[in-house]
Amino acid sequence: MALLQTTADELLQRAIETLRARILPHAAGTPDHEAALAALRALAIAHAELASDPAIIGREVAEIEALLGQSFQGDAVAAKRALAQAVRVRSLPSDGPGEVRLRDHLLKATANRLRLTNPKYMTRRQRRAESSY
């Protein structure tokens, strides 16, 4: 249950709608237009993050634990740091199924975030990948 009568999700959504309907049209052609667009984009990303599945981080930690054979007790930053270090010192397999598992994890982790910041980017890339490089 939220502390406030209007949830953070609703507040952000209304701020986005107001900015889009009332501020952006007046900013068109002025130096403020880029700033208004940036603010709108930031609010949209924050809104998407609030609405995202909270279990994602736990699943990512579990994947890293499986890759490294080590427990991080839910500490996502420590897990990611350990993975980055293992990749840097090349202690993970550089080919075969182990390498595929690492690549799959990296792709999923990136896609989980890109879905919040720029979901159209993945859609456009996937569509294009069907026709060419």
């Binding site: 930031a42 840097r88 690549r103 990296l106 792709l107 990136t110 910041t117 490089y133």
Partner: protein
């Protein structure tokens, strides 16, 4: 805009540089630039001396950068002079103020190239055919720049560091250091750096490479290429790096299907390059450099986010730029897999 006393100081500098009797200088507009860089279009009325007359000029100050590869104004000026003398289509570099005593930072003055650098304006103005013709011209210009080879380097650019056999390791080390300076661990970029190190080609011929030629860094008037700009990333590198940087997905703005930098087709770019270079473009090597471009672009985005600087708007711009590193990560993961499949 420049303060009145700065305009007066600038006018005095131009008078001395041109051995004029009198100069009158007016600032027409601020030009797009990175944070902290003075960049203005000015008009100079010069009376007496060899430059007597009215001149459209650009004042380009030294920027604020933490990029270890970025050149200082004096070095960039020397490279611009060599490139201009070689016949590259680029605004003539006229005078350098290296001390910082006039505007507080070093600057150079160039002739103004009339046209646009605005990516969206240019992309919307060009038909597919016009875009191809512009891409062809960009290819020609890159090949012209790449004629300046390391083994016949003009003396005035002898300061450029000469890469050795370990050039790929040096880049990888610099990128790893850049990642260490950011707040968050970056396993995807670590993985891509390893790939870069493992797949870097042997470079038989190092040439003068622009390293930042893409939309925004050249002036065009429709399909006509008016001038190559921004030489502060120039270095001795594999010439194919320039083609890869231009063709990389991250530089195509809203037109990813125009593979030559969002301007025209890859074929047009390669054709233009071949017409001047006299040899085929190594497409596989260009693809390698496209991947390296995503890596470089992604790490630069993280670096930008790590130094928000300035006001709230600049802080927001830095934060959003940092998030663009995710697009570079996604490109790296897909393109490295594709590169491996193509080479199998």
């Amino acid at each position: 805009m420049l303060a009145r006393n700065a305009v007066t100081a600038l006018s005095g500098f131009v008078r001395a540089a041109t051995k004029a009797e009198r100069t009158s200088l007016s600032v027409d507009r601020a030009l797009p630039s990175a944070v902290g860089r003075a960049h203005y279009q000015v008009t100079a009325e010069i009376a007496g001396g060899p430059f007597a007359g009215r001149h459209a000029l650009v004042v380009r100050g030294e920027g604020e950068t933490t990029d270890r590869f970025a050149l200082a104004s004096a070095d960039e000026f020397a490279i611009r002079r060599v490139a201009f003398r070689t016949g590259l289509t680029t605004p003539e570099p006229l005078w350098l103020e290296p001390s910082g005593n006039v505007l507080g930072k070093p600057f150079m003055i160039l002739r103004h190239a009339a046209g646009t650098t605005d990516a969206a304006a240019l992309q919307s103005a060009l038909s597919v055919e016009e875009g191809d013709r512009l891409a062809y011209r960009v290819g020609q210009e890159l090949a012209r720049l790449h004629r300046i080879a390391i083994d016949r380097a003009p003396a005035e650019i002898a300061f450029l560091p000469k890469p050795g056999a370990e050039w790929a390791l040096q880049r990888a080390t610099a990128w790893r250091a850049a990642l260490d300076a950011t707040a968050q661990p970056q396993p995807c970029f670590e993985w891509a750096i390893n790939w870069f190190e493992d797949h870097a080609p042997k470079v038989e011929r190092f040439a003068l490479v622009h390293r930042d030629l893409r939309l925004g860094n050249f002036v065009a008037d429709g399909e006509k290429l008016v001038g190559i700009l921004d030489f502060e990333q120039v270095a001795w590198c594999d010439p194919m790096e320039d083609l890869g940087w231009l063709a990389a997905r991250g530089g195509r703005h809203g037109l990813p299907e125009r593979e030559a930098g969002g301007i025209g087709s890859r074929e047009a770019l390669y054709d233009g390059y071949r017409a001047v270079a006299g040899h085929e473009v190594d497409d596989r090597r260009v693809r390698f450099w496209e991947i390296a471009a995503a890596l470089r672009h992604g790490i630069a985005s993280l670096q930008r986010a790590a130094r928000p600087g300035g006001d709230a708007e600049q802080g927001l711009e830095a934060a959003l730029t940092g998030l663009q590193s995710l697009e570079a990560e996604y490109d790296l993961l897909l393109e490295i897999e594709h590169y491996g499949a193509e080479g199998a």
